[in-house]
Symmetry: C2
């Protein structure tokens, strides 16, 4: 055992990058990306290898009944409160090496260093590798953290199938987690959750900051907008007799973009998907459907934005004799990170002369699931060019190491002091 | 023979509608549309049945080597100049009963009535059923009229395959037109061409006019526009750091639409097709491609419009740090119909108290192919709701009959007087 502990008791900054490489070998794609979908072979191998690593550094490693993997370092205090730290093992299809993986190996490395240097902590620490966060195999996100927090149970997977028609429960059984034995793996012993993650944006890089200390995770509202105009011959229909769904969509998209820019600099609104019907060059499009993804960390800003956008949509529908309707299919409320710990993390960063800034997370993270029920914090390291969900995803060893060091200090303060 | 002539010598307004129904039986689809693709079984049956009809009314019926079907009524004059009248037999997939078909049966009916009433004409008249105009089986339009006018030969079909991978030449052979025997079926004996067609637009219906006398057929320019921005995370990329291809496309589409409306009321510009990449709700689109179809009957208006639109595109590309490029893949020049005959047709319409108007054809027609080489005229009857290329395509018997009557009078004036 001691040998293994030594293996990890190494402040060489390359170590974290090596662990990232090692973990990326499970599910590596031909173009150096990673595909590690929930309950797949690559996923099973990665979780099993992580379990061995956990054991190797002296943690008690165990799975819960949905496949969340925990590595427990028992504290000496009598209370059973657990400090949970980690991230998710699953990836998007052909994603990068860092998303999720970094948070797991950073936590492992921090805990192994603490254990090697200071022995057992006062408070129990558990490193977690959540089974699922992305929703990239089945249309269900945060399957791991929502089980632990009691928000989801097996009933939520009923009827879900993957792209190959494999039912969720069959995939789960295949991976060794018998659905018949499912008991909601809710954890009431978790006192707080700390996650480190790559930013997946370009704010830290632009500001040349090593670390972003997250204040809030945005709320997200997603809609499908459908415009029903009239399909016509592109040559024989004068411009003034058209009810062109593409032209109307362009008008709405221009409006909602300008409105997002003007209402608050931290609001983002995205039309990522657009489909026209019949979608041929010589026919005026009779129908367009597009997605609208809106994010901000304050509910009232989201409300104000939605109200002004949708009242404009109504106005356009009326004045252009078209039908415009919208259906909301996602509504995630914004959450705040733990303010007390946030300020302590700042102090730690200052002491260690780490350049940092407050940041709002525009992406969803397991931290947001925990934040609604217990004190939670999230720390970002820079993403090169803001690229994520892509084999090009990259963070330098130096930047990765800064995150691990800060996490180590935080865990020391929380569990050892 | 006399019996057949009597069969057609019938001014009952239902007659033309009956012929339309009869012709639509070749290639009828389950939802009452028509699919009669070049050289298909339905196409062969329709042309063969039309050949029999031609013979039945006393015409000399024959095919040329690409499948254009002619029904010749020899004139008594010594010169060999031919007045050609008719339209195309092919349809789009699940198209209507009237597009093309109306022009053929109207010509047949007009000639049969003239023959029955007045016997042989001075000038030779030929009714034509062009083999192909739509380009809906192979990516090639006006295959019939462009062979007759010498613009296309068999070389233009090299490499062309249909949606099932069938080569053009194999389909042609299969229909009985041996490509080895191909000699360009150019016709130097045609003195003029007259076509009647449904409007495929809603101008006549709106103006409550029975007939549109076409002054010009528009020029058409078609482009693919490609915007290359940057694909980013929809949550983590602030609005001001985005190079969003969908937002840029919306801006361009709004501009080009407003510009089309302002530059000339007869200019039409259509973005019928739009495709975003990667086209998912939570990713800022890095790339958009859209089609641009521009039509007007004056070259200088097309030039002016294109110049102003593309210089705006350049400006936007520069100021938004994106790549915008465009590729032209169609350039059809506008053509004028024969002015002398146009004014004679107006006089005839006035004499017969037919409500009429000048109209520009926004759609392409066989008439445009002929108009560049010989005096050509085109007459429209109304399309209900402007609907075309659709099983719902409809023109009332009364409106169809008005077109036949006017065509009969025109042919009388041209061939009998």
């Amino acid at each position: 055992m001691a040998i293994h502990v030594r293996e990890f008791h190494d402040t060489n900054k390359e170590k974290i990058a090596e662990l990232i490489e090692w973990l990326s070998s499970f599910g590596k794609t031909t173009n150096e990306g990673v595909t590690r979908l929930l309950y797949s072979k690559a996923w099973c191998e990665a979780q099993s290898a992580l379990k061995n690593k956990m054991k190797a550094i002296g943690l008690d490693a165990y799975f819960d009944c949905v496949g969340n993997l925990f590595g427990r370092l028992q504290g000496t205090d009598e209370d059973n409160a657990v400090i949970l730290t980690g991230s998710h093992i699953d990836t998007v299809i052909d994603g990068g090496k860092y998303d999720g993986a970094y948070g797991i190996v950073a936590s492992l490395l921090a805990v192994s260093r603490l254990y090697a240097s200071y022995g057992k902590p006062k408070k129990t620490i558990e490193v977690v590798s959540f089974c699922e966060e992305e929703g990239s195999r089945f249309p269900l996100t945060f399957w791991g953290s929502r089980n632990i927090t009691g928000m989801y149970d097996i009933g939520h997977t009923r009827g879900l199938v993957d792209a190959n028609g494999v039912p969720f429960m069959d995939a789960m059984k295949e991976a060794g987690f018998e659905t018949e034995k499912y008991i909601q793996p809710i954890r009431s012993d978790i006192a707080r959750f700390i996650e480190v993650h790559i930013e997946q944006g370009m704010v830290l890089e632009r500001n040349q900051n090593a670390v972003g200390i997250v204040t809030h995770i945005v709320g997200q509202r997603r809609y499908n907008i459908r415009i029903k105009g009239e399909s016509n011959h592109a040559g024989t229909t004068p411009m003034n007799l058209r009810r062109d769904a593409v032209v109307t969509a362009s008008k709405l998209i221009s409006f909602l973009t300008k409105k997002a820019e003007s209402i608050d600099s931290q609001l983002v609104a995205t039309v990522g998907r657009i489909e026209a019907q019949p979608n041929v060059p010589n026919v005026v499009a009779g129908e367009v459907e597009f997605s609208l993804d809106i994010r901000h960390h304050k509910q009232h800003v989201l409300d104000e934005y939605c109200m002004s956008v949708f009242s404009y949509f109504e106005e356009v529908a009326k004045s252009n004799d078209l039908i415009i309707d919208w259906k909301q299919w996602m509504n995630v409320e914004p959450v705040a990170m733990d303010a007390m710990m946030h300020s302590k993390i700042k102090t730690l960063a200052e002491q260690k002369q780490i350049s940092f800034q407050d940041i709002v997370s525009g992406a969803g993270h397991d931290a947001q699931v925990f934040a609604s029920t217990l004190p939670t914090n999230l720390i970002f390291v820079p993403s090169k060019g803001g690229i994520s969900h892509n084999p090009q995803e990259f963070t330098s060893s130096e930047d990765l190491e800064v995150g691990v060091k800060l996490l180590t200090d935080i865990l020391y303060q929380l569990a050892y002091e």
